[in-house]
């Protein structure tokens, strides 16, 4: 028993090992192809530098020389973004320093880029060509016995094969070469890809101080966006205070003024006016309450997003399942928005959908908060027909987020919200 279980586990790990190996090989191939691309660019840039150098002998080169750092930088930035895709991010540096060749050469970053260009344009190019050629030829040669007959007679010899293929035996010989090439690629390929990336990883990483200042620039940009969202939110609050509570209170003063005049003239008519004034004052209070609650629901601060959404679901008349997996905290206003969307959606579900079940799912993907609210009701919800969703939409767009409502007649209704976390 024990032995069989053991061998089963062994088979499984072996299969996983093979899968892992296949992935490593495919990755290596992909990296070598990408590296070949930038190496070709580097090679062309090297050629260009040599040509410009030669042209300097007749004078024209001096006109072209100042543009060289920019050429080098753009090639280097391509390699930077290529390496960032498969490894730790290397920040792109943008345009090269202007101010002539001498100034550029005084820049340590430019000097390192030149060293990289020299290595990548030669050794990197060789590695890329060798790796890609070995991989492609191994596939071609391995499958050669299957299709060599359709080739024209006198052209029937692939690369690296020095005999003319005339019968199956010759073709199987080619396949042997394919096996040899494949073994070479399988053993050396990943190492070659690593070796090819190495100069870039060493030489193209910006020095620590530059790295930091670039990082600060990036953070400043995201912060500015966050402040923008904040300002929009403040405008929204200002608008709702002005259009709601303030106007109600003005109406109160107007009606009070009117009722005082009425008291002096005809006390019996004052009663009706005072009644309206009181109604206006109550309206003002209700508006104020709504605005204040709309700024930040206290439950968010007390129990976080998960707790707050749980609370909403528990209060819902339609049974509602909540599944929140949002590690860390998002910006408070973002969480508040998520809360209000859910609250509004659940209210609508209870009022209009005739659903029997609802689900709320919140996830964090990178720096985005994803929220999905579903029901199994009759559908046909329209964002435009004055449901609370219109207010929600403006709130979401203030945060640069996205709201999608799908609600075909007959149901079900799905509301999806995507918000930048802002943290």
């Amino acid at each position: 028993m024990e032995k069989r279980a053991g061998s089963g586990a062994g088979r499984r790990t072996r299969r996983e090992g093979v899968l892992l190996r296949v992935r490593v090989i495919l990755d290596a191939f992909e990296h070598l192809v990408g590296g070949l691309g930038t190496a070709l660019l580097a090679f062309v840039a090297l050629l260009w530098i040599v040509l410009v150098g030669l042209a300097c002998a007749v004078g024209i080169g001096f006109l072209l020389a100042p543009g060289l750092p920019r050429v080098v930088r753009s090639v280097a930035d391509r390699e930077r973004s290529r390496l960032s895709r498969s490894g730790p991010e290397i920040i792109k540096l943008g345009p090269a320093p202007s101010g002539g060749l001498r100034a550029a050469l005084a820049d340590s970053v430019v000097r390192r880029e030149l060293r990289w260009l020299l290595i990548h344009g030669t050794l990197g190019l060789f590695l890329g060509l060798a790796g890609v050629t070995a991989a492609l030829n191994s596939v071609q040669d391995l499958t050669y016995p299957l299709w060599w007959r359709i080739l024209p007679r006198d052209d029937a010899a692939p690369t690296f094969v020095f005999w003319t293929v005339q019968d199956s035996a010759d073709a199987w010989g080619v396949a042997l070469v394919g096996v040899f090439l494949a073994v070479i690629f399988l053993t050396l390929g990943p190492g070659m890809a690593r070796l090819q990336a190495l100069p870039g990883q060493r030489l193209l990483v910006p020095p620590a101080d530059i790295d930091l200042s670039l990082r600060i620039a990036q953070l400043t940009a995201t912060r500015a966006a966050a402040l923008d969202a904040h300002a929009t939110e403040l405008r929204r609050i200002e608008r709702s205070l002005h259009d709601g509570a303030q106007n109600r209170l003005v109406a109160v003063t107007v009606l009070l003024g009117a009722s005082r005049r009425a008291l002096a003239r005809d006390p019996s008519s004052a009663e009706a006016i005072l009644d309206r004034a009181q109604y206006a004052a109550e309206q003002a209070l209700a508006e104020l309450r709504a605005v204040v609650r709309g700024i930040l629901p206290p439950v968010l601060a007390d129990r976080g997003l998960a707790g707050a959404l749980d609370g909403l679901a528990a209060a819902s008349v339609v049974p509602c399942k909540v599944d929140v997996d949002v590690p860390g905290r998002c910006a408070v206003s973002v969480e508040a928005t998520a809360y209000f969307v859910t609250s509004e959606a659940l209210t609508n579900i209870v009022k209009h959908s005739r659903a029997r079940n609802a689900t709320v799912v919140a996830r964090r993907e990178g720096d985005r908060l994803l929220l999905r609210i579903e029901d199994d009701g009759v559908g046909g919800a329209d964002v435009r027909d004055g449901t609370g969703l219109t207010g929600i939409r403006s709130r979401i767009s203030a945060h640069d987020g996205r709201l999608t409502v799908t609600s075909p007649p007959g149901g079900p209704t799905t509301i999806q919200v995507e918000l930048p976390c802002g943290s």
């Binding site: 106007n247 003005v250 003024g257 009117a258 005082r260 005049r261 309206r276 206006a280 309206q283």
Partner: protein, 219 residues
Amino acid sequence: MRIVIAEDDPLLREGVALLLRAEALDVVATTDSPDAFLEAVDHHRPDVAIVDVRMPPTHTDEGIKAAVEARRRLPGLAVLVLSAYVEQAFATELLAAGGDGLGYLLKERVGRVEQFLDALHRVAGGGTAIDPDVVTQLLTRTRPDSGLQQLTARERDVLALMSEGLGNAAIAERLFVTEGAVHKHIRNIFAKLGLAPTDRADRRVTAVLRYLEESRRHG
């Protein structure tokens, strides 16, 4: 006095209409948008329009634009603009369009019915009525080298009351001075602002405008 009201908040619109009708004034139309307002002006040809600054669609200065347009269509139409807060750019925009019979009041002044009716009648009679708050704000925001800065405290008081649209007698009463003293102050104000020394109504309006203009350019 035939009045058209343009105010998008229903409670407030009906409140003002109620108040004016109780005073036996003739409110011929109440409207809730600039378009409806201009239509009502064309149709009823009122003497006075009471206009809210913020109206749909963007809730910024539609009211001012509508008021200026209404005066273009119906010259001599007196306009009293109501605003939720002091926005001197709007006040200036309105007054810069020129002419008599203009007023700019904070909304809550409507509750002080006597003063409100007073302002309304003044505007209807071709005078001006600028909210005391607007005036105060303008006075604190002028350039050091402007003529306004050379005014004494008392002269500023007089100019402020003038902006509200009060006549010499009313100003004298408010400041507990004689009418002669007010007259002297006004002459000094005109001199310091470089205006011809007369206290005809249009001079007074010019002084107020000067005031608004300066603070708009340098505020």
